[in-house]
């Protein structure tokens, strides 16, 4: 989702939060795929991923009156959906603890469970979102700045004085661009 699209969704949700019912249909058309995609990623192969997405979507619209127009409405909607996914996962965990999963469901649901020591599906999805956002911001920098940061990340360059200065400048620009977009 690019910045323009994000702004449009934000405006639709803010209008809806203020009681403008005319924004309901367009907001639903834009937010529904977003929430479904997010829940599918977070819940992985869980059998109730579609149900969770439905619940999350209902929760987003039910809580729209609480939306603070000065904050990013897309991030708020994703936050509500993430909470719903977490609730569904806990509910499923409790159910499994109580009765134990059937054999075939166990095989299907396995990817949704956190691996031993690994990140949970929510953390993995957040990490992917963050990386995507970082890549997006990195793409707006000058090629020399982006190369410098990538070289530093990959440990491809010896850290000389000149490189350190270039890296510091590039990181400053990255930080400024990040703040402009997300703060």
């Amino acid at each position: 989702m690019d910045a323009r699209e994000r702004r449009e969704v934000h405006e639709l949700l803010v209008r809806l939060a203020d009681g403008d019912r005319a924004a309901l249909h367009p907001a639903f058309a834009r937010v529904s795929p977003l929430v479904h995609r997010f829940c599918a990623r977070v819940r992985g192969g869980a059998p109730d991923a579609a149900d969770t997405a439905q619940e999350a979507l209902l929760r987003v619209f039910a809580r729209l009156s609480e939306l603070d127009p000065s904050r990013d409405a897309v991030a708020w909607a994703i936050g509500v959906a993430a909470w719903e996914c977490r609730t569904a996962r806990r509910r499923e965990g409790r159910r499994r603890a109580r009765e134990g999963p059937p054999r075939e469901e166990r095989a299907e649901a396995a990817p949704a469970e956190p691996r031993d020591g690994g990140p949970s599906p929510e953390d993995a999805a957040m990490e992917r979102e963050l990386l995507e956002a970082a890549r997006e911001v990195l793409g707006t920098l000058r090629p020399t700045d982006a190369d410098t940061i990538l070289e530093a990340l990959g440990g491809e360059r010896e850290s000389g004085n000149l490189f350190r200065k270039r890296l510091s400048r590039a990181l400053g620009r990255l930080r400024a661009e990040w703040s402009r977009r997300y703060e």
Binding site: D18, G19, S32, L57
Partner: protein, 164 residues
Amino acid sequence: MSEELSRVRSAYERGRLRAAAPWALPPAALAYVSCSSCMRRDVVMAISLALSAMLVFCMWRGGVFGAAAKAGLAGGVLAWLVPVACPLPAACVAVGLATGLAIGALARTRASRRLEFVLVASCVAGLAGALGCVLVGLGSVAAMGAALALGAVPVALVPAARRA
């Protein structure tokens, strides 16, 4: 898609109603204070119920109704407070006029739907003010309402002077 949309619409309306419900409480608080020093408790209760219903409806509806209800309640609390502190008919008229002027001035800052704003805000302020003026008498309630309308409507409807 349409089934999902209708479920989303119901959830949205339920959410709005849940958010609007607490707005029924301020009139109850005003009515509680008025009831403690007023013989006309049935009138106070009727006004309080009407004000609660109106506030919940306006906050559920949102948009200009919600904004007007908030402005009207703010003005109405003042219009309620003055006759409670100083129970004189003149106080009711003065505070009604002042609240009306304030509502009219607020309405003038709006780019559109001024008349709806003035009507809703005046009704809310009038009902809230009536909870205080009823301590003085029903005549004072009517005088306060008339003063409020006299202050609000002309100010809101007179077109703004053009700047050179």
